[in-house]
Amino acid sequence: MPLTRRQLLGVGAAVAGTAALGGWTVWSGRGQSPLLLSARNDDAGQHYAVGYFLDGRRAFATPVTDRCHDICRHPFLPLALFVGRRPSRESYLVDLRDGILLQTLHSQPQRHFYGHAVFHNSGRWLYATENDTREPGRGVLGRYRLDSTRLQLIHDGEVSSHGVGPHQLAWLPDGESLVIGNGGIRTEGGSRKEMNLPAMAPSLVIMDRQGELLSKETLPQQKNSIRHLAVASDGTVITGQQYHGPAWDKVPLLAIKRPGEAYHPFPVSESQLAIMNQYTASIAIHSEKRLVAMTAPRGNRFFIWDLDSAATVVDAPMPDCAGVGAVPGGFAVTSGQGKCRYFDCTGGAVQSHWLTLPDGWWDNHLWLG
């Protein structure tokens, strides 16, 4: 039986307690098709925050003012923040049961969102990568507290991201340390224009959520912007880069940091690198199957590799492939241009089939669960 919004608010009031765990369990039901959350457009250019079940049924499509990027799910309440895409100053807190917009979260003055955020597993705190647009420009993690009675996010301070242009962030398995891709590019507050390409300084930072820097590593190529990442249950981090140097340079567009080891390139073949057109988008890790999946929309290519041996599992053409997410049996992949696909990894050879989701206009990231 679905919860009413009033019941949800009641659950929210008890957010610190274990009673809250019931909210999501009741809502998601048993045996239901996984829910896919994403930003999407229509062909008139209207932006939406959408939820679809993987079997093709629409849960909701909520019109929003700004184009969003990634989706940040609350750990147990049926809530998600659809995070505004650079340089948006808005993100949208949505009730996943019916798509009602609960809050338009505005960034602080002289800050804008970078499209990614994470909820702490207590459900009380959210951390979003943001741009401090004042001179000389710096990356920050905005911290927000979830008001458990009103279900509103309230800004509650910020810490440095220890780099410029922070993009995606994720929790390490301890649930207290964050890994952040500092893209290294400073952009104008009012546009997407790069301001510092000759002086880019990308880095992979691990810090605790209070802001203390635990490690900061770089790749040899100064114009190789570290943007997206995923973390396996054992703490292995895979990052995807976007290279701002010449199109013909051969640079590592994927890199790996295993727990306790140095950050270094993930060994994919030169022909695969060449096909990516210096641009990687979304990364997902299947921890149980030890697989990493990645979309390369400029190369119209989708890949799956073995996380440990780096052997290629899938190397498939897919027009404008966008978000990728893992479910127990494999990966679902959306597309900005064509049909969404499912890659079934349960048998020996991976089987792919098309999903009955609407075609095209899916944005670069998705949340699946």
């Binding site: 457009n41 062909d43 008139a44 990027h69 895409r85 650079r86 499209g115 993009h167 943007r227 976007q242 199109a247 013909w248 022909s271 060449a274 096909i275 641009y279 988008a281 929309p297 400029r298 190369g299 119209n300 498939a316 053409p317 897919m318 027009p319 404008d320 966008a322 900005g336 241009q337 064509g338 049909k339 792919s352 098309w354 075609d359 095209g360 206009w361 899916w362 944005d363 670069n364």
Partner: protein, 340 residues
């Protein structure tokens, strides 16, 4: 068995009667593949001609003509290079543009200083900057090379580039024509690349629209649109051979060949007329340019003419990318063109 045959025949008829699938198949068979074949065949002539000139059996003018033919086939192909040629950095091996820091001249001379008698493996191992038509053009047309007097120095490179271009086009053509190659992918659905003809048509249109966008860049860059309006004549494509405009015309013709096939799918007569007119206007304007582009961009009295051409290219791009795509219900790149 008979029923099965009836069913298969019905399915085949249904597929054939789908106008989008028909158009996609026609585009693949009659426009895209022939453009790749023509490029390969021109590269064959270029290699023959290079060998003939290097052995003293041909005039330089004939070699220059063969070069123009290869360059023209490549220009026509750019809005049509769906699949293999657009993948894996292959297109950079054909042409190096824009060359903002005159890397072609510098790297070509450095390479020849390092390897007096350049071998094919040495060229294959070198940068894409020296492997393509832009380096070939530099050797043939730049005054500083004095190529006729320095035939011995430059011939190993010219022959190497011509051979590299032919090998590349042979490989790409094979990837088109082999079983389950690109031609099959554009004519039989679903397949591993495309779920249906709509996706394939979207892919073709996306490349074509990108081709029109590249035309804008090839015009706008020497006009100084990236440099606060200060003309950049040496940033023009093919400035050394003074063939920038001919290249633009060949690319426009390639883009138009796609439109000529897609037109039958458009029910909106107004939109058809607008796109037809846009192509005609640009074609006429290019035809009317009185001198090589690198000279025109430096002539203040020609700025309005070039500006108008640029705006018309921009309008054509919008008509196809927005209006045509919306009319056909086809998405032309979303994340790929504007990611994060």
């Amino acid at each position: 068995m008979q029923r099965l045959i009836v069913l298969i025949t019905t399915l085949m008829l249904a597929a054939c009667s789908d106008p989008r699938q028909q158009v996609t198949t026609q585009l693949a068979d009659q426009v895209l593949l022939p453009a790749h074949q023509q490029w390969q065949s021109r590269n064959m002539t270029l290699l023959d001609s290079t060998r003939a000139w290097c052995s003293g059996d041909q005039e330089l003018a004939s070699l220059k003509q063969a070069f123009h033919q290869s360059q023209s086939a490549w220009s026509r192909l750019q809005p049509l290079m769906v699949g293999p040629l657009s993948e894996g950095n292959r297109s950079w091996q054909v042409q190096f543009w824009p060359d903002k820091r005159n890397m072609v001249a510098r790297q070509t001379e450095d390479l020849l200083d390092e390897f007096a008698d350049l071998t094919q493996p040495q060229l294959e191992g070198a940068s894409v900057v020296v492997q393509g038509l832009t380096a070939f053009e530099y050797v043939l047309f730049d005054e500083q090379t004095a190529v006729t007097e320095n035939r011995d120095r430059y011939c190993p490179l010219l022959t190497g580039i011509a051979r590299h271009q032919l090998t590349l086009s042979d490989q790409v053509l094979a990837l088109w024509q082999q079983p389950e190659g690109m031609l099959d992918k554009l004519t039989s659905f679903p397949n591993a690349r495309y779920a249906n003809a709509d996706e394939a048509l979207g892919g073709i249109l996306r490349v074509q629209v990108t081709g029109v966008d590249t035309l804008k860049k090839k015009l706008g860059t020497p006009m100084g649109r990236l440099n606060s309006g200060v003309p950049q004549p040496y940033q023009a494509e093919a400035w050394r051979s003074r063939h920038s405009t001919e290249n633009l015309q060949a690319s426009l013709a390639g883009a138009q060949a796609v439109w000529e096939r897609v037109r039958s799918l458009v029910g909106d007569a107004g939109l058809v007329a607008d796109i037809d007119q846009a192509y005609k206007t640009i074609r006429d304007q290019l035809e009317a340019l009185p001198a090589p582009l690198m000279e025109l961009v430096q002539d203040p009295t020609r700025q309005a003419q070039l500006q108008s051409l640029y705006q018309n290219l921009d309008a054509l791009e919008t008509l196809q990318q927005d209006d045509l795509a919306r009319h056909l219900g086809i998405q032309i790149g979303f994340n790929a063109n504007d990611g994060d």
